[in-house]
Each structure stands twice: as C-alpha cells, then as structure tokens.
Amino acid sequence: MFAGFSDPFETLLTLQRALDARIASDWMGRGTGAIGSFPPINMFQKGDDYVAIIELPGIDKNDLEIEAKENTIRICGKKTVAYGEQASVHRRERISGVFDRTLSVPIRIEPDRIMAEYRDGLLALFIPRAEADKPRSIKIS
C-alpha cells in the first residue's frame, strides 16, 4: 500500500514499488489459472470495492466483450493491427489476435453492478463488493 502523496517526485516510484510488491500475488488464488495470459490485469482495492485495470491499447469498443456471473468475470475480444495497402513494414512489435480471459475473484461481488470504462487504452472495471460480504462492526455492550 502506498500511503501519502506528499512528495510529488517520489509518488510514481512509490506506486511502482507498490505494484511490484504485489506482482502475481496469491490474492486471486488459483482462480486465475491464466497468469501471464493476455490482457494483463492489475487488481486494486478502493474502499470496500475493487477495481481492475487492464491494459488494452488500440481496441475497438465493439470488439470487446465483458461478461460477469457470480464471482467470475470474462473479458474477450480481438485486437487488430492494420498497416494499409502498399505498406512495407520496418518494425513490428505490436501484436494482434484474439483473447479470452476469465478471472475469479475470491470475494462475493455484485455482478449486475459492475461498471466498465474504456479510456486511453485502459479498461477499468469497477467491481462492487456484495453487501453480504462487507464486514460488520460489532457493538460491545
């Protein structure tokens, strides 16, 4: 966890270190048998809820499909890279093809209330935690 944003020059490095510290952590357990598969996912907690941020640059929104059921979310689609006719390619690093990835989160969520946003090549999924799953404070009498 990275706490303060007091020093703007250290913030990015602090964030990068925090991300490194959770690389392929066991939070999702064996639910994501697909570690290393496309697209790469970062999972965050924000308050009670969860946010998944997925790197998917250059995708047509119509080529992207997201399904959710119980605690499973499926992201599939295709990515195309076009060079146009008459083009000779000097360097080819971008990849194209189909992807299909399913992740299971180890908590109860509300699949009907998941919100998705695609902006600047990042897909963000806002995943609300189920009310029944939230911790309750217990009053001491």
Binding site: L13, L15, N42, M43, P57, G58, K78, S88, I95, D120
Partner: protein, 132 residues
Amino acid sequence: MSDSQELQVQQKREVEKKTEGTTSGRVFLPVTDIFETPEALTVVLEMPGVDRDSIEASVDNDVVTIEGRIDFTKYEGMQPLYTEYNVGHYARSFQISNKIDQTKISALMKDGVVTIVLPKAEQAKPRKIQVS
C-alpha cells in the same frame, strides 16, 4: 497474420538511459510499429494510460522523440492486491533521415495508441521513369 492467433502478454521494457534522470520513477519503452508507404513513414506507438494532452513529440537533429506521461494520481487511494504489469511514463526516440519533410510531421492519438506520420520530402518520393 491470422485472426485466430492467441495473444500473449508482452513484458514491458525499460528505457536504457544514457544520462541519469533527476526525477525518480521508471520509464518504459512503448511497443512500436514502423511502416513505410510511397508517401510517408508511419510510426505507431502503444502508450496505454496516456491521454492526448500528455504526449510530447519533437524533432531535433533528425531525431524524433515521443514522450507520454501517465496520470498516476488516478491511483490515489487504491491499494494493489494483485498486479501483472507496472505503470510508468513512456519515452522512445528514432533517428530519421533527411528524406523526411520535417515541417509536415503530424500525430494522432486514439485509445492509447499514437500514430506519427512522417511525410517524405518531394525529392525522396518514388518516380516512375518513362521507357521510350
């Protein structure tokens, strides 16, 4: 390339610095395609998380430099639980030849992908030679 090919994750490469930076934080090399048509050379770079206003492209001494800055304040208050990639600014530069008309270079940003078109100078465009 066939459409049914399954996509693999590409590991991000870090920029190898020739000089030391004064700000901390890692900078990554954007994944890049370069292709050529009779009219222009096109450079396509993937910079997920960078918006249109955070791109800087410059030409200096026949070197094109493209820099993209991510807005990491969006990550404020978010606690990472499980991560598969790291985030950071992007930077990459390319040497271009004098065959490029440097005054007509244009750039376009869409869905985290920057397309830079480097039009060829008139004298560098291919000409058909009439056979008599």
